[in-house]
Symmetry: C2
Subunit: 158 residues, 2 copies
């Protein structure tokens, strides 16, 4: 899929204040169950981590402290809304939250449901692999996750 098609599919321009060559300025980053003018929630297609989400700030901003105070709060409220949905639907053993941007310095948060039997637990998903990935979750779980992400975020941030 070409970048401009993804932008069209995404519904809002993702390249506000875009930086040439930045992956998250050019592309939505995956399936987008919810977005507003400031940021978007993306379902990451990771075969090891069903339910792995990212919250990507739309504008090309490097650090949380480059945002205004109300933008920081908005960003974290969206991140924690995603955490809440993941906990409700998947009941993970733990939630992992992280914002690095060492390779793609465009503000984004990883929100990852972790299970004791997943591929890296108790290591971070960037650490040494511990075992094979568990079998894929049933299709209805994915559907429930998409629906609840869309409805809960639309309710909190209409």
């Amino acid at each position: 899929m070409r970048p401009e098609e993804e932008q069209s599919q995404c519904g809002v321009p993702v390249n506000l204040d875009a930086s040439p060559g930045c992956e998250f300025c050019r592309q939505s980053g995956g399936e987008v169950p919810w977005r507003d003018e400031k940021c978007r929630v993306v379902l990451v297609a990771d075969p090891d981590y069903h339910g792995f989400c990212r919250v990507i700030w739309n504008a090309h901003v490097k650090e949380m402290t480059d945002l205004a105070r109300d933008e920081q709060q908005h960003c974290m409220r969206v991140v924690l809304s995603v955490e809440q949905v993941l906990r409700r639907v998947l009941k993970p053993h733990k939630i992992n939250l992280a914002s690095f941007g060492n390779m793609t310095p465009h503000l984004h948060w990883h929100v990852i449901p972790r299970f004791e039997y997943d591929a890296h637990f108790p290591q971070t998903i960037w650490g040494d692999r511990q075992r094979s990935a568990p079998p894929a979750a049933p299709a209805e779980t994915g559907l429930q996750l998409r629906e609840l992400l869309a409805t809960m975020l639309a309710r909190n941030y209409p």
Copy 2:
């Protein structure tokens, strides 16, 4: 140093709602330049990562979404105050923020200043080591960091 001595040194009890065997209920977790009733900022003694800080919630809570809304905001404001101080004093290439708790399920945030020449860049510090650690920062940088953490947090959260 025994846990009870650390608690005494820390100034406030760190074992509110303590969980038996939890490292962050028993110990402060390092040098504490600032703390309040809810959380504490800890300087991590990591030879690879000068300026590595943690923000540790005092009570034994597992996830951010186990906190009340105003507590979530307080926690993130402290995390981002630390980010701001690290950026001002150390001028890192990037800040890394993460809350995992897979091994110690007691809410804590890692706030890590990253440099292009550090031991793991551009990987996370939990990934594959890329090179030797850079030389230790001068003593006055550490002193400046401690002072600014204490004064800026005391100003924001008196």
